[in-house]
């Protein structure tokens, strides 16, 4: 896929991510069933659902790390592997192997590893975006959970990707760091046009941040504007044990 082809595709208004009739099963267990939706350029999509709903699996399918049993996933009209070869996708997995914290790897080295060109300005830009430039010489093992998360996010954006896939980026970090991180993500989406897909359990927070919400529970429960979807009927479909507290009079 050449850059020229990508430009042509952009002009034809192809959906950024097109997921049609995707089913995924492993060891005879269906994880996702008949998933259908399109994501347009510049979106900020929150993906919510209970444990085992297939949220992480959906991100891994979009990245081409696993293949759907049936159905098709296209990114800008291309299979994920073909797209990623030319245009990396920024990705933050839910769990990062603990090996990395045994390595004497500094924040700057981690962020630099994300780009082939080792362009100093871009590396500094990515670190300053997440306000971690003062930590550039610190080994990752000496950072707090929130700082580590920011370092990995800086690594994910250093290639200036068009798409950012984040799997529970706010897990294990304090409310202040979380708000900081959400502000930066919103800036990336608003000012740099980065399309963001976030898997989260933190529904309340992402209701304010995301422009669109996908409720998933092996199948698609609903997709639309967060304010319209966060109603009791949908929440009960998503979380069967959901209990709403009566409003104060």
């Amino acid at each position: 896929m050449t850059d020229e082809k990508l430009k042509i595709l952009n002009s034809k208004k192809v959906s950024l991510i097109d997921i049609s009739h995707v089913t995924y099963a492993t060891n005879g267990v269906t994880i996702l069933e008949d998933i259908n939706f399109q994501v347009e350029e510049g979106c900020y999509l929150g993906i919510v659902g209970p444990n085992g709903a297939g949220k992480t699996t959906l991100l891994r399918l979009i990245l081409g790390l696993i293949k759907p049993k049936t159905g098709k996933i296209l990114i800008k009209g291309f299979e994920p592997e073909a797209y990623i070869k030319n245009e990396p996708i920024g990705y933050l997995p839910q769990r990062i192997s603990q090996n990395i914290y045994e390595m004497p790897l500094t924040v700057e080295e981690l962020v630099r590893s994300g780009t082939e060109k080792s362009d100093r300005d871009t590396v500094e830009w990515a670190m300053s975006l997440f306000k971690i430039e003062h930590l550039h010489k610190k080994p990752l093992r000496e950072l707090s959970g929130g700082e580590r998360q920011k370092a990995f996010l800086a690594r994910a954006v250093v290639v200036k990707p068009r798409i950012l896939l984040l799997d529970e980026p706010t897990t294990g970090i304090d409310p202040h760091s979380r708000d900081d991180l959400l502000d930066i993500l919103e800036r990336l989406n608003r000012d740099f046009g980065v399309s963001i897909l976030v898997v989260t359990h933190d529904i309340a927070t992402f209701t304010h941040e995301s422009k669109c919400l996908l409720c998933l529970n092996k199948r698609m429960v609903c997709l639309g504007e967060p304010q319209k979807l966060l109603k009791e009927e949908y929440m009960k479909m998503l979380y069967p044990s959901y209990v709403s507290f009566p409003h104060k009079r």
């Binding site: 891994r60 081409g64 070869k85 990705y91 192997s97 080295e109 590893s113 690594r155 290639v159």
Partner: protein, 265 residues
């Protein structure tokens, strides 16, 4: 003291360590970060088999060594990737098969005197022809390190992140396995089958005691490795200790020094 530099076998030994000492720990960095240090041991024991086979057949051992090590490296990686055997299990299988067959071949050949130099390295086993092969192997390893070090770092950080960055991780793992096989093959005559792993891994562990960045770890591990290798030649020459053992003893001493230095700061 200067007569040491006039002997042909020692000149060759100096050339060999000049080629392998800076490369081995740089490859070792990735072995340690991928928690794959056992892989080096397995290939070293397969190297033992290759040398035993060449003793048995009276052939050039380094060529057999390179061919057999690459075959095993590719097989192990294949079995691991396809999940046909557990990772550690496939390594153990090849390790014990290598040792058992080596002992069998050496016993059948009736040349059991050569076992010491195979296991613990020697100053004198490297021929002029070997030196050229070692030079070619070193160039291959250097090419890999220059071309793929950044991709390897991504692979060490997280396989899924690497894949999302557009890195073909199956291909990368395979050529890394081949490079490790080449590196071990070219070092094994000097270091010995049981001790080659020490040149790849101990300098890195020592450097990690004092370094806080990857770059400094790599630089320090090369310094430790080169210093130990040159000092090991002198120690081996004057004390008759096998070369691999001499180098390893110095490497261990440096590790202890670094370990204490870290805790005393």
């Amino acid at each position: 003291m200067m007569e040491i530099f006039e002997l042909d076998i020692l000149k060759r030994a100096f050339w060999v360590v000049t080629l392998i000492a800076p490369i081995a720990p740089l490859i070792g960095v990735f072995l340690i970060f991928r928690r794959y240090a056992f892989f080096a041991d397995t290939l070293a024991h397969v190297g033992f088999l290759a040398i035993a086979l060449s003793v048995f057949l009276n052939l050039n051992s380094l060529l057999i060594l390179v061919a057999l090590s690459i075959t095993v490296a590719v097989s192990v990686e294949h079995l691991r990737t396809k999940g046909k055997l557990p990772a550690e299990g496939s390594l153990s299988l090849f390790l014990y098969a290598g040792v058992a067959l080596s002992v069998l071949l050496i016993t059948l050949s009736g040349k059991s005197a050569s076992v010491m130099s195979i296991l613990f390295g020697s100053l004198s086993t490297t021929s002029q022809e070997d030196l050229y092969l070692i030079l070619c192997g070193s160039i291959l390893c250097i090419f890999f390190l220059i071309k793929f070090h950044k991709k390897m770092l991504n692979l060490c950080i997280d396989e899924e992140i690497a894949q999302a960055s557009g890195i073909n991780i199956s291909f990368l793992k395979m050529i890394f396995a081949i490079t490790v096989a080449v590196c071990i093959s070219i070092s094994i005559k000097t270091m010995g089958a049981l001790l080659i792993g020490s040149l790849m891994l101990i300098p890195v562990l020592s450097a990690m005691q004092i370094a806080k960045s990857l770059r400094f770890t790599a630089i320090m591990s090369v310094i430790y490795s080169v210093f130990s290798s040159y000092a090991g030649i002198f120690l081996s020459y004057y004390s008759d200790i096998p070369l691999g053992a001499s180098i390893s003893v110095i490497l261990i001493s440096l590790f202890i020094f670094s370990f204490i230095f870290k805790r005393s700061r």
